[in-house]
Amino acid sequence: MRLSVLRRIGYMVLIPILAVFSALLLGAIIMWIFGDDPLAAYRGLWTGAFGSPRAWSTTIRKMTPLILTGLSVAVAFKAGLFNIGASGQFLIGSVCSVAVGVNFEGLPAFVHLPLALLAGVAGGVLWGFIPGALKVFTGAHEVIVTIMLNYVASLFAAWTVYAGGTQGQTPGPLWDRTAGAISRTPEVFMSARLPWIVPEPYRIHWGVAIALLVALIMWWILFKTTLGFSTRTVGANSKAARYAGINVRWITILTMMIAGGLAGLAGAIETLGLNHRFAPEFTGGVGFQGITVALLGQTNPIGVVLAAFLLGALEAGAARMQFDSGVAADIIQVIQALVLAFVAAPLIIRQIYRIRKPSDQVETTVFSTGWGR
């Protein structure tokens, strides 16, 4: 009994590690095929991610939003929902937090900052509530609705900061009036900014502490509370959950709201901690990466933190890699896609490395049971 539990945990850890290893190996082969030097590239990647205190700080900075978007996707997975909309929720979170951050001058920081963070969370919650409620009440599949909401969110965000046009189009409500033709918001007031833990030039802000704390809370909720148990039961077998008296509809809506709130918090933290403003070139790309983080972390909050650290390191090292070795930083995106492919299809990894699966392990996580229902 004890042994089988150990073996299961080993399997859960082994697959992600082998997936990352295989992705890096395949990435190296691709680089080699197209005439780049993979060794130089990975050396640069390592230096850029861990080579100096500066590099470490970049890794931590890149990791922070990934923890939260990864949690967002992971929590939804736990309830059998696929939140592909973390990027939209992220954007709405950013815009809402900025809206509070650039207004209310003179509020003390201990009111203004939490208010701005809460606004971001609230925006994300709303953006998660829509697909959740539509799924429960009309049967609309959350994947379609969240994809569409991503675009609505990014257009909405673009409108709020829109500078107006040369033909006198009305500028958006959050546009920075001093920016001329540039579409962007003003910087948020000092009282709404997340303070630095380690100041310039390292620029690590308290967001990372918030993200880690939230991960811990999510772990506690998922594995130590009735709510978490219900959520996981709904995800494992929603029919059984209904027979056991769990309110599946409510859990579905609530989970999507929590997922949205987490991604919204990521947007708020990224904006209030780092960028201090919103501009249309900030995309919700980290929301999309959240899918990779969540699956690499085996949808476990602790795993998500580790996965976010790894992906954050890849992102952090990319610039240095391109500078040192001349390999285009875009190869990182290829590697991320491969990581996602390998963790999502453990069968590939098992075949390559000839691993037998533990007998009681569920093989694949299939979330998509058709569109309509």
């Binding site: 609309a140 285009a328 290829v334 896609a337 569109w371």
Partner: protein, 348 residues
């Protein structure tokens, strides 16, 4: 179900007639002096609509082929981008050829690479039983990464497909200009709609494909090789998405830019759903979505600034959400979509 379909198709026909009449009136009579009418019905707006719709039509057809056989495909965006990049590479490396062969070579390579992306999607989701939505996501990230990694920013593609006027038909006022004076891939897309509609609903292949998507066990029982059909149609679908990418590079823009599909794959998905997994429905939806893009353009040209363009752009997405929520005539996806099919006793 049957009834809703009939009502919507009458509505669609009425709408088309309305548009044709208005287009004639606005472009041939003094009614065209009115700014708003010109914005809505000018020849340039209708031309723009068709141009913007072609990749959406092809993408939606890709989705229909995959999903009718039971493979969810949210990776259209990635397949399209891969096709676009492949077409660009093929075109730039054959710049020294005469224009037509070089362009046709570009189309062929776009089809090939799109098909390979389809094959990858099929292998992931059938052979390796990956969640099909995640597999689609992998394709999107992969195409974005690979095309950016390999993109040579100094390469320039020379020339693109020009318009071919169909003799006789192109002389019809307004209609001739909009419908019968187009580059070849536009005609191809419109013809493909008819071909795939007939294929799906009037041939043995179509019946079997749809059976695989609705009730694979039944299809298997009567001797249809479900997974072979799924492989075949996903590859075919990938080729169509690749063609959509080829259209962007070889016919619409003439060059490649990173991430140039810019969400068209997702709008195609929306068009497919809004069109209820029917080729003509999807075409109608694609035209509607293309029209919203044309409107933005025309509004800008006409100097109308009261409507923020971002809100006009939102229309396709909002309309799709409304459609899947069943507020206006419920759409119904193939029943067995997204489920791995195993013959009995096969599970490992």
């Amino acid at each position: 179900m049957q009834r809703t379909l009939r009502v919507t198709s009458y509505l669609a026909i009425a709408l088309v007639i309305f548009f044709v009449v208005m287009a004639f009136l606005v472009n041939l009579t003094p009614l065209g002096e009115n700014t708003w009418l010109r914005v809505f019905f000018s020849v340039s707006a209708l031309n723009f609509t068709l141009r913007a719709s072609v990749p959406l039509i092809l993408g939606a057809l890709c989705g229909i082929l995959c999903e009718r056989t039971g493979i969810i495909n949210i990776g259209i965006e990635g397949m399209m981008l891969a096709g676009a990049f492949a077409a660009f590479v093929a075109k730039t490396s054959t710049n020294h050829w005469p224009l037509m062969p070089s362009l046709l070579f570009g189309v062929a390579i776009a089809l090939l690479v799109g098909g390979l992306m389809g094959l990858l999607h099929a292998i992931f989701s059938i052979r390796y039983r990956m969640d099909q939505i995640i597999s689609g996501t992998v394709l999107i990230i992969l195409a974005g990464g690979v095309s950016a990694y390999l993109f040579d920013r100094n390469a320039v593609a020379q020339g693109k497909f020009g318009a071919i006027a169909i003799p006789g038909l192109s002389q019809i006022p307004v209609l001739g200009e909009v419908l019968f004076t187009n580059p070849p891939l536009t005609y191809t897309a419109l013809i493909l709609v008819v071909v795939i509609h007939i294929g799906l609903f009037y041939t043995r292949w179509g019946l079997r494909s749809r059976a695989c998507g609705e009730h694979p066990r039944a299809a298997d029982t009567v001797g249809v090789n479900v997974n072979r059909f799924r492989y075949m149609n996903t590859v075919l679908g990938g080729m169509l998405a690749g063609l959509a990418g080829g259209f962007l590079v070889l016919e619409a823009v003439g060059q490649f830019q990173e991430g140039m599909t810019a969400g068209r794959g997702f709008i195609s998905l929306a068009a497919m759903i809004f069109g209820n997994w029917m080729p003509f429905g999807a075409m109608g939806a694609a035209l509607l979505f293309g029209y919203t893009q044309a409107l933005q353009n025309e509004l800008l040209l006409a100097g109308v600034t009261t409507v923020p363009r971002q809100f006009v752009s939102m229309i396709p997405y909002v309309v799709t959400i409304v459609a899947v929520s069943g507020f206006v005539g419920r759409v119904r996806p193939p029943a067995a979509e997204g489920k791995v099919y195993e013959t009995e006793g096969e599970s490992e």
